[in-house]
């Protein structure tokens, strides 16, 4: 299954390139569009993992709804280019080396002992189908699913209250 590996490497490189571009760009609209690239290539990686439903909602919810909200706010606030001011020194002095150490440790562990983990393949056709996810979601996870609706209601009310013009 060499084609599987080739596709993973291609989409993985697009994904990382989009994420690096998100950090490199100074205008928020460029960052938002590179985040859309990251999300679209992640959706294709989900398809490689046999997660059809998750890939579909990744495109619809993330790349569609959430990113439209971001782009809308950037346009609404007329956000200009980022000023490169010196940020917090603690973030630079402690945070950045911390992230480097974290990435190094995780990468070293995975490269060193990742062989014991085995591998994934494009699985049988009924895995990741909407049918089986719905069965799980509405039986075993019914209570969390219902609580989620309350969460969304609170989020809607919060957004309306915060966005309301005062006075």
């Amino acid at each position: 299954m060499i084609i599987h590996q080739v596709l993973f490497i291609v989409f993985g490189i697009i994904c990382v390139a989009g994420a690096v571009n998100l950090l490199a760009q100074r205008h928020p609209i460029n960052s938002a569009l590179s985040l859309v690239v990251v999300m679209a290539s992640l959706a294709l990686i989900y398809l490689l993992l046999g997660a059809e439903f998750v890939a579909a909602i990744q495109i619809i919810v993330y790349a569609g709804a959430i990113m439209v909200l971001f782009v809308f706010v950037i346009m609404l606030l007329n956000a200009g280019e980022e000023e490169r001011t010196r940020g917090s020194r603690i973030a630079l002095l402690i945070g950045v080396p911390g992230v480097v150490v974290l990435a190094g440790t995780v990468g070293w562990l995975l490269v060193h002992s990742g062989g014991q983990l085995g591998s994934v393949s494009i699985s049988s056709s009924n895995f990741g189908e909407t049918h089986s996810i719905a069965r799980l979601l509405f039986k075993d996870f019914l209570l969390p699913f219902e609580i989620t609706s309350v969460l969304i209601l609170i989020a809607i009310m919060g957004a309306v209250v915060l966005g309301k013009r005062e006075g």
Binding site: H4, F8, A19, Y62, F70, E82, L102, L162
Partner: protein
């Protein structure tokens, strides 16, 4: 056949890039996008492990079976929470911009409006 560790390494790279963006960017909207990037990185490892446990059946210490598809359900919940978070967070950004006229986090250093 792709090793599971490749997916986890990609996930770790994306997560660390998200943390870097969170620490180094100064625009509040870009910081928010870095958080979304971190959430996506975690989603990738959930889906990768769901596929992995599907092809490697396994029992928990309590004797119960691992349900591989619950990884997909978790991704679903993460997306719901991310959508709610985006709605509230962007409303907060709009309300901060109204009073401060800036999106630079260095100039937003008081909770009081």
């Amino acid at each position: 056949m792709v090793p599971l560790s490749w997916y986890l390494i990609l996930s770790a790279i994306l997560f660390c890039l998200g943390v870097f963006g969170f620490l180094l960017k100064r625009n509040i909207i870009t910081i928010f996008m870095s958080i979304e990037l971190m959430l996506n990185a975690v989603n990738l490892s959930f889906v990768a492990f769901a596929n992995y446990w599907n092809s490697h059946p396994h029992k928990l210490a309590s004797g119960a079976d691992v349900v591989p598809l619950s990884g997909h359900v978790f991704v679903f919940f993460v997306m719901v929470v991310a959508a709610a978070e985006a709605a509230v967070g962007l409303a907060i950004i709009i309300s901060v911009f109204r009073t401060r006229e800036t999106l630079n986090v260095d100039q937003v250093n008081l909770l009081k409006l």
